[in-house]
Amino acid sequence: FATFGPNFKWQTNSLTYRIENYTPDMSQSEVDDSIERALDVWAKVTPLRFTRIYSGTADIMISFGRLSHGDFYPFDGPDGTLAHAFAPGPGIGGDAHFDDDETFTFRSYSGYVLFLVAAHEFGHSLGLTHSNDPGALMYPIYSYTKPSDFRLPQDDINGIQSLYGPNPDTDPDTDGKDPEPPTTPNACDSNMVLDAVATLRGEMLFFKDRFMWRVYPQTTPQQTYITNLWPNAPERIDAAYESQESGNVFLFKGRQVWAFRGYDLVQGYPKAITKFGLPSTVKKIDAALYDVESRKTLFFVGSSYYSYDEFSKKMDDGFPKSVDETFSGLTGRVTAAVQSNGFTYIYSGPYMFEYRLSSGTFFRLLGNNYFLPC
Protein backbone atom coordinates (compact mmCIF):
# COMPACT_ATOMS: atom_id res chain seq x y z
CA PHE A 1 0.00 0.00 0.00
CA ALA A 2 1.04 3.66 -0.16
CA THR A 3 -0.27 6.89 1.36
CA PHE A 4 -0.06 10.55 0.38
CA GLY A 5 1.97 11.00 3.57
CA PRO A 6 1.24 11.49 7.28
CA ASN A 7 0.03 15.05 6.74
CA PHE A 8 -2.65 13.96 4.33
CA LYS A 9 -5.24 12.43 6.64
CA TRP A 10 -8.44 13.74 8.20
CA GLN A 11 -8.01 15.15 11.70
CA THR A 12 -11.51 14.00 12.65
CA ASN A 13 -13.16 10.60 12.35
CA SER A 14 -16.59 12.03 11.62
CA LEU A 15 -16.78 13.02 7.98
CA THR A 16 -19.57 14.30 5.79
CA TYR A 17 -20.30 13.47 2.17
CA ARG A 18 -22.66 14.93 -0.39
CA ILE A 19 -23.76 13.55 -3.75
CA GLU A 20 -23.96 16.66 -5.91
CA ASN A 21 -25.42 15.07 -9.06
CA TYR A 22 -26.22 11.71 -10.66
CA THR A 23 -25.24 9.62 -13.67
CA PRO A 24 -28.06 8.72 -16.08
CA ASP A 25 -26.69 5.14 -16.22
CA MET A 26 -28.27 4.09 -12.93
CA SER A 27 -31.27 4.94 -10.76
CA GLN A 28 -30.67 7.49 -8.00
CA SER A 29 -31.30 4.89 -5.36
CA GLU A 30 -28.69 2.60 -6.96
CA VAL A 31 -26.16 5.46 -6.93
CA ASP A 32 -27.02 6.31 -3.32
CA ASP A 33 -26.65 2.66 -2.33
CA SER A 34 -23.37 2.20 -4.22
CA ILE A 35 -21.84 5.30 -2.62
CA GLU A 36 -23.02 4.36 0.86
CA ARG A 37 -21.63 0.81 0.58
CA ALA A 38 -18.36 2.12 -0.85
CA LEU A 39 -17.86 4.36 2.19
CA ASP A 40 -18.89 1.52 4.47
CA VAL A 41 -15.99 -0.56 3.11
CA TRP A 42 -13.63 1.85 4.90
CA ALA A 43 -15.83 2.53 7.95
CA LYS A 44 -15.86 -1.20 8.76
CA VAL A 45 -12.11 -1.29 9.36
CA THR A 46 -11.45 2.16 10.90
CA PRO A 47 -12.94 4.61 13.44
CA LEU A 48 -14.14 6.72 10.46
CA ARG A 49 -17.88 7.44 10.26
CA PHE A 50 -19.66 9.07 7.32
CA THR A 51 -22.76 11.26 7.43
CA ARG A 52 -24.61 12.31 4.30
CA ILE A 53 -25.61 15.94 3.85
CA TYR A 54 -27.80 17.35 1.09
CA SER A 55 -26.64 20.98 0.92
CA GLY A 56 -23.58 23.07 1.64
CA THR A 57 -20.01 21.83 1.48
CA ALA A 58 -19.19 18.34 2.69
CA ASP A 59 -15.72 16.93 3.36
CA ILE A 60 -16.23 14.52 0.45
CA MET A 61 -18.12 16.11 -2.44
CA ILE A 62 -19.13 13.49 -4.99
CA SER A 63 -19.97 14.42 -8.58
CA PHE A 64 -20.22 13.08 -12.13
CA GLY A 65 -18.66 15.12 -14.93
CA ARG A 66 -17.18 14.84 -18.44
CA LEU A 67 -13.95 16.04 -20.05
CA SER A 68 -13.14 19.45 -18.43
CA HIS A 69 -15.27 19.47 -15.31
CA GLY A 70 -14.00 22.27 -13.12
CA ASP A 71 -10.60 21.09 -11.92
CA PHE A 72 -7.25 20.95 -13.72
CA TYR A 73 -7.63 17.28 -14.58
CA PRO A 74 -10.04 16.84 -17.51
CA PHE A 75 -11.46 13.40 -18.15
CA ASP A 76 -10.77 11.59 -21.42
CA GLY A 77 -14.04 10.22 -22.77
CA PRO A 78 -15.06 6.56 -22.59
CA ASP A 79 -12.64 4.07 -20.92
CA GLY A 80 -9.11 5.16 -20.00
CA THR A 81 -9.54 7.22 -16.84
CA LEU A 82 -12.74 6.28 -14.97
CA ALA A 83 -12.58 8.67 -12.02
CA HIS A 84 -10.22 10.51 -9.70
CA ALA A 85 -10.22 11.85 -6.15
CA PHE A 86 -8.19 14.25 -4.05
CA ALA A 87 -6.22 13.67 -0.86
CA PRO A 88 -7.77 14.77 2.46
CA GLY A 89 -7.78 18.53 2.93
CA PRO A 90 -9.90 21.69 2.69
CA GLY A 91 -11.76 22.74 -0.44
CA ILE A 92 -11.33 20.17 -3.21
CA GLY A 93 -9.51 17.90 -0.75
CA GLY A 94 -11.34 14.60 -0.34
CA ASP A 95 -13.63 15.20 -3.31
CA ALA A 96 -14.32 12.38 -5.79
CA HIS A 97 -15.17 12.92 -9.48
CA PHE A 98 -16.55 10.23 -11.77
CA ASP A 99 -16.20 10.37 -15.55
CA ASP A 100 -19.74 10.36 -16.91
CA ASP A 101 -18.52 9.29 -20.33
CA GLU A 102 -18.19 5.87 -18.72
CA THR A 103 -21.10 3.49 -18.35
CA PHE A 104 -21.49 2.89 -14.66
CA THR A 105 -23.48 -0.05 -13.40
CA PHE A 106 -24.93 -1.33 -10.15
CA ARG A 107 -23.52 -4.83 -10.36
CA SER A 108 -23.23 -6.14 -13.93
CA TYR A 109 -20.04 -7.11 -15.72
CA SER A 110 -20.82 -4.89 -18.69
CA GLY A 111 -19.94 -1.37 -17.62
CA TYR A 112 -17.95 -0.26 -14.59
CA VAL A 113 -19.39 -1.17 -11.20
CA LEU A 114 -19.83 2.20 -9.46
CA PHE A 115 -19.47 0.60 -6.02
CA LEU A 116 -15.97 -0.70 -6.91
CA VAL A 117 -14.79 2.53 -8.57
CA ALA A 118 -16.17 4.60 -5.68
CA ALA A 119 -14.61 2.39 -2.99
CA HIS A 120 -11.24 2.87 -4.71
CA GLU A 121 -11.67 6.64 -5.06
CA PHE A 122 -12.73 7.02 -1.43
CA GLY A 123 -9.44 5.33 -0.53
CA HIS A 124 -7.78 8.40 -2.06
CA SER A 125 -10.28 10.72 -0.32
CA LEU A 126 -9.08 9.22 2.98
CA GLY A 127 -5.35 9.41 2.26
CA LEU A 128 -4.27 6.30 0.31
CA THR A 129 -2.46 6.41 -3.02
CA HIS A 130 -2.02 3.45 -5.35
CA SER A 131 -0.84 0.02 -4.26
CA ASN A 132 1.22 -2.13 -6.62
CA ASP A 133 -0.43 -5.27 -5.21
CA PRO A 134 -2.57 -6.49 -8.14
CA GLY A 135 -5.11 -7.89 -5.68
CA ALA A 136 -5.54 -4.64 -3.74
CA LEU A 137 -8.56 -2.37 -4.09
CA MET A 138 -6.08 0.52 -4.38
CA TYR A 139 -4.40 -1.03 -7.43
CA PRO A 140 -4.87 1.57 -10.17
CA ILE A 141 -6.31 -0.80 -12.80
CA TYR A 142 -10.06 -1.61 -12.70
CA SER A 143 -10.94 -5.27 -12.14
CA TYR A 144 -14.48 -6.61 -12.05
CA THR A 145 -15.56 -8.34 -8.85
CA LYS A 146 -19.15 -9.28 -8.11
CA PRO A 147 -20.11 -6.63 -5.51
CA SER A 148 -21.69 -9.29 -3.28
CA ASP A 149 -18.36 -11.16 -3.26
CA PHE A 150 -16.27 -8.08 -2.48
CA ARG A 151 -14.10 -8.17 0.65
CA LEU A 152 -11.53 -5.48 1.37
CA PRO A 153 -8.07 -7.03 0.80
CA GLN A 154 -5.55 -7.15 3.64
CA ASP A 155 -3.19 -4.76 1.83
CA ASP A 156 -5.85 -2.03 1.85
CA ILE A 157 -6.74 -2.69 5.49
CA ASN A 158 -3.05 -2.35 6.41
CA GLY A 159 -2.90 0.92 4.47
CA ILE A 160 -5.97 2.63 5.89
CA GLN A 161 -5.24 1.45 9.43
CA SER A 162 -1.72 2.87 9.17
CA LEU A 163 -3.49 6.24 8.98
CA TYR A 164 -6.51 5.84 11.28
CA GLY A 165 -6.09 2.63 13.29
CA PRO A 166 -8.67 -0.19 13.54
CA ASN A 167 -12.41 -0.01 14.07
CA PRO A 168 -12.96 0.35 17.82
CA ASP A 169 -16.55 -0.80 17.51
CA THR A 170 -15.99 -4.31 16.21
CA ASP A 171 -18.73 -6.47 17.65
CA PRO A 172 -17.18 -9.17 19.92
CA ASP A 173 -19.95 -11.59 18.82
CA THR A 174 -19.07 -11.38 15.16
CA ASP A 175 -15.42 -10.44 15.69
CA GLY A 176 -13.17 -13.10 14.20
CA LYS A 177 -16.18 -14.62 12.40
CA ASP A 178 -15.66 -12.32 9.44
CA PRO A 179 -13.89 -14.26 6.71
CA GLU A 180 -10.15 -13.63 6.56
CA PRO A 181 -9.36 -10.57 4.38
CA PRO A 182 -8.04 -11.82 1.03
CA THR A 183 -4.30 -11.62 0.46
CA THR A 184 -2.49 -11.81 -2.86
CA PRO A 185 -0.41 -14.97 -3.44
CA ASN A 186 3.31 -14.24 -3.62
CA ALA A 187 5.50 -16.01 -6.19
CA CYS A 188 8.42 -15.63 -3.77
CA ASP A 189 6.69 -17.79 -1.16
CA SER A 190 8.62 -21.06 -1.50
CA ASN A 191 5.91 -22.87 0.50
CA MET A 192 3.11 -21.84 -1.82
CA VAL A 193 1.07 -24.77 -3.11
CA LEU A 194 -0.26 -23.92 -6.55
CA ASP A 195 -3.85 -24.87 -7.39
CA ALA A 196 -3.08 -25.73 -11.00
CA VAL A 197 -0.61 -25.21 -13.86
CA ALA A 198 -1.38 -25.24 -17.59
CA THR A 199 0.04 -24.11 -20.92
CA LEU A 200 -1.70 -21.63 -23.19
CA ARG A 201 -0.24 -21.36 -26.69
CA GLY A 202 3.35 -21.07 -25.55
CA GLU A 203 2.62 -19.34 -22.27
CA MET A 204 2.53 -21.08 -18.90
CA LEU A 205 -0.31 -20.29 -16.50
CA PHE A 206 0.03 -20.76 -12.74
CA PHE A 207 -3.21 -20.64 -10.74
CA LYS A 208 -3.60 -19.76 -7.06
CA ASP A 209 -6.83 -18.62 -5.35
CA ARG A 210 -8.39 -15.81 -7.44
CA PHE A 211 -5.12 -15.14 -9.27
CA MET A 212 -2.97 -16.48 -12.04
CA TRP A 213 0.51 -15.71 -13.26
CA ARG A 214 1.10 -15.66 -17.01
CA VAL A 215 4.68 -16.49 -17.92
CA TYR A 216 6.08 -16.04 -21.42
CA PRO A 217 9.59 -17.32 -22.02
CA GLN A 218 12.16 -14.63 -20.96
CA THR A 219 9.58 -12.20 -19.63
CA THR A 220 8.50 -11.15 -16.16
CA PRO A 221 5.50 -13.09 -14.81
CA GLN A 222 2.33 -11.05 -14.99
CA GLN A 223 0.02 -11.61 -11.98
CA THR A 224 -3.64 -10.92 -12.60
CA TYR A 225 -7.12 -12.07 -11.60
CA ILE A 226 -8.22 -15.22 -13.42
CA THR A 227 -11.46 -13.34 -14.21
CA ASN A 228 -9.46 -10.65 -16.03
CA LEU A 229 -8.69 -13.25 -18.69
CA TRP A 230 -11.85 -15.40 -18.36
CA PRO A 231 -14.71 -13.51 -16.68
CA ASN A 232 -16.81 -16.68 -16.33
CA ALA A 233 -14.02 -18.74 -14.80
CA PRO A 234 -14.25 -20.14 -11.27
CA GLU A 235 -11.76 -19.13 -8.58
CA ARG A 236 -9.62 -21.51 -6.52
CA ILE A 237 -9.65 -24.13 -9.23
CA ASP A 238 -8.56 -27.75 -8.73
CA ALA A 239 -6.86 -28.40 -12.07
CA ALA A 240 -6.27 -27.06 -15.58
CA TYR A 241 -4.84 -28.23 -18.90
CA GLU A 242 -4.60 -27.17 -22.52
CA SER A 243 -5.77 -29.76 -25.06
CA GLN A 244 -3.62 -29.57 -28.18
CA GLU A 245 -6.41 -31.47 -29.96
CA SER A 246 -9.14 -28.88 -29.43
CA GLY A 247 -6.97 -25.85 -28.59
CA ASN A 248 -9.18 -25.36 -25.53
CA VAL A 249 -8.01 -24.72 -21.99
CA PHE A 250 -10.03 -26.69 -19.45
CA LEU A 251 -10.45 -25.49 -15.86
CA PHE A 252 -11.77 -27.87 -13.22
CA LYS A 253 -13.50 -27.15 -9.95
CA GLY A 254 -15.39 -29.77 -8.00
CA ARG A 255 -17.55 -31.83 -10.33
CA GLN A 256 -17.54 -29.17 -13.06
CA VAL A 257 -15.29 -28.31 -16.00
CA TRP A 258 -15.09 -25.01 -17.95
CA ALA A 259 -13.64 -24.88 -21.49
CA PHE A 260 -12.14 -21.69 -22.91
CA ARG A 261 -11.04 -21.05 -26.48
CA GLY A 262 -8.98 -17.86 -26.44
CA TYR A 263 -10.87 -15.49 -24.16
CA ASP A 264 -14.28 -17.12 -24.73
CA LEU A 265 -16.16 -19.74 -22.76
CA VAL A 266 -17.00 -22.57 -25.15
CA GLN A 267 -20.72 -22.98 -25.79
CA GLY A 268 -22.40 -25.41 -23.39
CA TYR A 269 -19.82 -25.14 -20.60
CA PRO A 270 -19.48 -25.61 -17.67
CA LYS A 271 -20.20 -29.34 -17.92
CA ALA A 272 -19.90 -32.24 -15.51
CA ILE A 273 -16.50 -33.92 -15.33
CA THR A 274 -18.26 -37.23 -16.03
CA LYS A 275 -18.23 -36.06 -19.67
CA PHE A 276 -14.65 -37.35 -19.79
CA GLY A 277 -15.83 -40.74 -18.58
CA LEU A 278 -14.70 -40.19 -15.01
CA PRO A 279 -16.85 -42.20 -12.57
CA SER A 280 -19.60 -40.27 -10.79
CA THR A 281 -17.88 -41.13 -7.50
CA VAL A 282 -15.08 -38.69 -8.38
CA LYS A 283 -15.90 -35.47 -6.49
CA LYS A 284 -13.00 -33.50 -7.90
CA ILE A 285 -9.74 -33.97 -9.71
CA ASP A 286 -6.44 -32.80 -8.21
CA ALA A 287 -4.51 -32.20 -11.43
CA ALA A 288 -4.68 -32.71 -15.19
CA LEU A 289 -1.95 -33.11 -17.77
CA TYR A 290 -2.02 -33.39 -21.58
CA ASP A 291 0.75 -35.63 -22.95
CA VAL A 292 1.78 -34.35 -26.39
CA GLU A 293 3.41 -37.63 -27.42
CA SER A 294 0.53 -40.03 -26.70
CA ARG A 295 -2.23 -37.40 -27.13
CA LYS A 296 -3.65 -38.61 -23.84
CA THR A 297 -4.82 -36.54 -20.88
CA LEU A 298 -4.02 -37.79 -17.40
CA PHE A 299 -6.46 -36.95 -14.60
CA PHE A 300 -5.03 -37.27 -11.10
CA VAL A 301 -7.50 -38.17 -8.34
CA GLY A 302 -5.96 -38.78 -4.91
CA SER A 303 -3.29 -41.47 -5.24
CA SER A 304 -4.69 -42.70 -8.58
CA TYR A 305 -4.83 -41.41 -12.12
CA TYR A 306 -6.96 -41.95 -15.21
CA SER A 307 -5.95 -41.77 -18.88
CA TYR A 308 -8.27 -40.12 -21.39
CA ASP A 309 -7.73 -40.40 -25.13
CA GLU A 310 -8.26 -36.91 -26.60
CA PHE A 311 -8.55 -38.29 -30.11
CA SER A 312 -11.18 -40.97 -29.54
CA LYS A 313 -12.62 -38.94 -26.62
CA LYS A 314 -12.83 -42.02 -24.43
CA MET A 315 -11.32 -43.09 -21.12
CA ASP A 316 -8.61 -45.70 -21.67
CA ASP A 317 -9.18 -49.21 -20.32
CA GLY A 318 -7.14 -50.46 -17.37
CA PHE A 319 -7.48 -47.29 -15.32
CA PRO A 320 -7.36 -45.94 -12.66
CA LYS A 321 -3.78 -46.87 -11.90
CA SER A 322 -1.82 -45.98 -8.80
CA VAL A 323 0.27 -42.83 -9.31
CA ASP A 324 3.43 -44.36 -7.85
CA GLU A 325 3.09 -47.24 -10.35
CA THR A 326 4.11 -44.86 -13.12
CA PHE A 327 5.72 -41.96 -11.29
CA SER A 328 8.44 -43.46 -9.12
CA GLY A 329 9.12 -41.71 -5.85
CA LEU A 330 5.92 -39.72 -5.92
CA THR A 331 4.23 -40.52 -2.61
CA GLY A 332 2.45 -37.25 -1.79
CA ARG A 333 -0.82 -35.94 -3.25
CA VAL A 334 -0.54 -34.53 -6.77
CA THR A 335 -1.55 -30.86 -6.70
CA ALA A 336 -0.75 -29.79 -10.30
CA ALA A 337 0.79 -31.14 -13.48
CA VAL A 338 2.15 -29.76 -16.74
CA GLN A 339 4.41 -30.73 -19.67
CA SER A 340 7.15 -28.53 -21.00
CA ASN A 341 9.87 -29.23 -23.58
CA GLY A 342 9.07 -32.92 -23.61
CA PHE A 343 9.38 -33.32 -19.85
CA THR A 344 6.49 -33.97 -17.48
CA TYR A 345 6.30 -31.98 -14.24
CA ILE A 346 4.19 -33.27 -11.39
CA TYR A 347 3.63 -30.88 -8.49
CA SER A 348 3.16 -32.26 -5.02
CA GLY A 349 2.76 -29.39 -2.54
CA PRO A 350 5.54 -26.81 -3.10
CA TYR A 351 7.74 -29.37 -4.91
CA MET A 352 7.88 -30.34 -8.57
CA PHE A 353 8.99 -33.79 -9.78
CA GLU A 354 10.48 -33.93 -13.27
CA TYR A 355 9.90 -37.07 -15.35
CA ARG A 356 10.25 -38.43 -18.86
CA LEU A 357 6.70 -39.83 -19.22
CA SER A 358 7.44 -42.35 -21.96
CA SER A 359 10.07 -44.13 -19.85
CA GLY A 360 8.78 -43.14 -16.40
CA THR A 361 12.31 -41.96 -15.59
CA PHE A 362 12.54 -39.52 -12.69
CA PHE A 363 15.14 -36.77 -13.22
CA ARG A 364 14.97 -33.91 -10.69
CA LEU A 365 13.12 -32.60 -7.66
CA LEU A 366 12.56 -28.88 -8.23
CA GLY A 367 10.72 -25.95 -6.60
CA ASN A 368 7.89 -23.72 -7.82
CA ASN A 369 10.37 -21.09 -8.87
CA TYR A 370 11.80 -23.31 -11.58
CA PHE A 371 9.07 -22.07 -13.95
CA LEU A 372 7.54 -19.28 -11.86
CA PRO A 373 10.35 -16.88 -10.95
CA CYS A 374 10.17 -14.95 -7.70
Partner: protein, 80 residues
Protein backbone atom coordinates in the same frame (compact mmCIF):
# COMPACT_ATOMS: atom_id res chain seq x y z
CA UNK B 1 8.86 -8.16 -24.02
CA UNK B 2 6.99 -8.90 -27.25
CA UNK B 3 8.01 -6.53 -30.05
CA UNK B 4 5.68 -3.61 -30.73
CA UNK B 5 5.29 -1.78 -34.02
CA UNK B 6 4.98 1.75 -32.69
CA UNK B 7 2.65 4.12 -34.48
CA UNK B 8 2.81 7.88 -33.99
CA UNK B 9 -0.54 7.56 -32.25
CA UNK B 10 0.91 5.02 -29.80
CA UNK B 11 3.81 7.36 -29.06
CA UNK B 12 1.50 10.27 -28.31
CA UNK B 13 -0.77 8.06 -26.21
CA UNK B 14 2.16 6.70 -24.22
CA UNK B 15 3.69 10.14 -23.65
CA UNK B 16 0.36 11.49 -22.43
CA UNK B 17 0.02 8.50 -20.11
CA UNK B 18 3.47 9.12 -18.62
CA UNK B 19 2.73 12.84 -18.21
CA UNK B 20 -0.54 12.09 -16.46
CA UNK B 21 0.54 9.28 -14.18
CA UNK B 22 4.33 9.49 -13.94
CA UNK B 23 4.97 13.22 -14.00
CA UNK B 24 6.80 13.19 -17.33
CA UNK B 25 7.71 16.83 -17.92
CA UNK B 26 6.44 18.47 -21.06
CA UNK B 27 9.72 18.99 -22.93
CA UNK B 28 10.34 19.47 -26.62
CA UNK B 29 13.00 17.17 -27.90
CA UNK B 30 13.37 13.60 -29.07
CA UNK B 31 10.25 11.48 -29.14
CA UNK B 32 9.81 7.98 -27.75
CA UNK B 33 11.27 6.53 -30.89
CA UNK B 34 14.68 8.06 -30.21
CA UNK B 35 14.45 6.85 -26.57
CA UNK B 36 14.96 10.16 -24.85
CA UNK B 37 16.43 9.37 -21.32
CA UNK B 38 13.65 11.13 -19.38
CA UNK B 39 11.07 8.99 -21.11
CA UNK B 40 13.13 5.82 -20.55
CA UNK B 41 13.26 6.67 -16.86
CA UNK B 42 9.49 7.21 -16.60
CA UNK B 43 8.75 4.06 -18.60
CA UNK B 44 11.01 2.12 -16.23
CA UNK B 45 9.17 3.61 -13.24
CA UNK B 46 5.86 2.49 -14.69
CA UNK B 47 7.15 -0.98 -15.61
CA UNK B 48 8.57 -1.39 -12.12
CA UNK B 49 5.27 -0.35 -10.49
CA UNK B 50 3.24 -2.83 -12.55
CA UNK B 51 5.78 -5.66 -12.27
CA UNK B 52 6.45 -5.60 -16.01
CA UNK B 53 9.82 -6.37 -17.54
CA UNK B 54 11.87 -3.22 -16.89
CA UNK B 55 13.12 -2.33 -20.36
CA UNK B 56 12.70 1.46 -20.33
CA UNK B 57 11.26 1.13 -23.82
CA UNK B 58 7.68 0.86 -24.99
CA UNK B 59 6.88 -2.83 -25.58
CA UNK B 60 3.56 -4.60 -26.16
CA UNK B 61 3.00 -5.54 -22.50
CA UNK B 62 3.57 -1.93 -21.40
CA UNK B 63 1.27 -0.60 -24.10
CA UNK B 64 -1.39 -3.12 -23.12
CA UNK B 65 -1.17 -2.05 -19.47
CA UNK B 66 -1.46 1.64 -20.49
CA UNK B 67 -4.72 0.90 -22.27
CA UNK B 68 -6.45 -0.72 -19.31
CA UNK B 69 -9.27 1.26 -17.62
CA UNK B 70 -7.93 2.85 -14.45
CA UNK B 71 -8.10 5.55 -11.81
CA UNK B 72 -6.99 9.04 -12.81
CA UNK B 73 -4.80 9.60 -9.74
CA UNK B 74 -1.06 9.37 -10.55
CA UNK B 75 0.86 6.29 -9.35
CA UNK B 76 3.14 6.10 -6.34
CA UNK B 77 5.03 9.11 -4.99
CA UNK B 78 4.12 11.22 -7.97
CA UNK B 79 0.60 11.70 -6.60
CA UNK B 80 1.90 13.54 -3.52
Amino acid sequence: GPVLHLTARDEIFAENYLKKFYDLKDESGPSLRRGFSQINKKLSDMQKFFGLQITGTLDADTMEMMKKPRCGVPDEKVSR
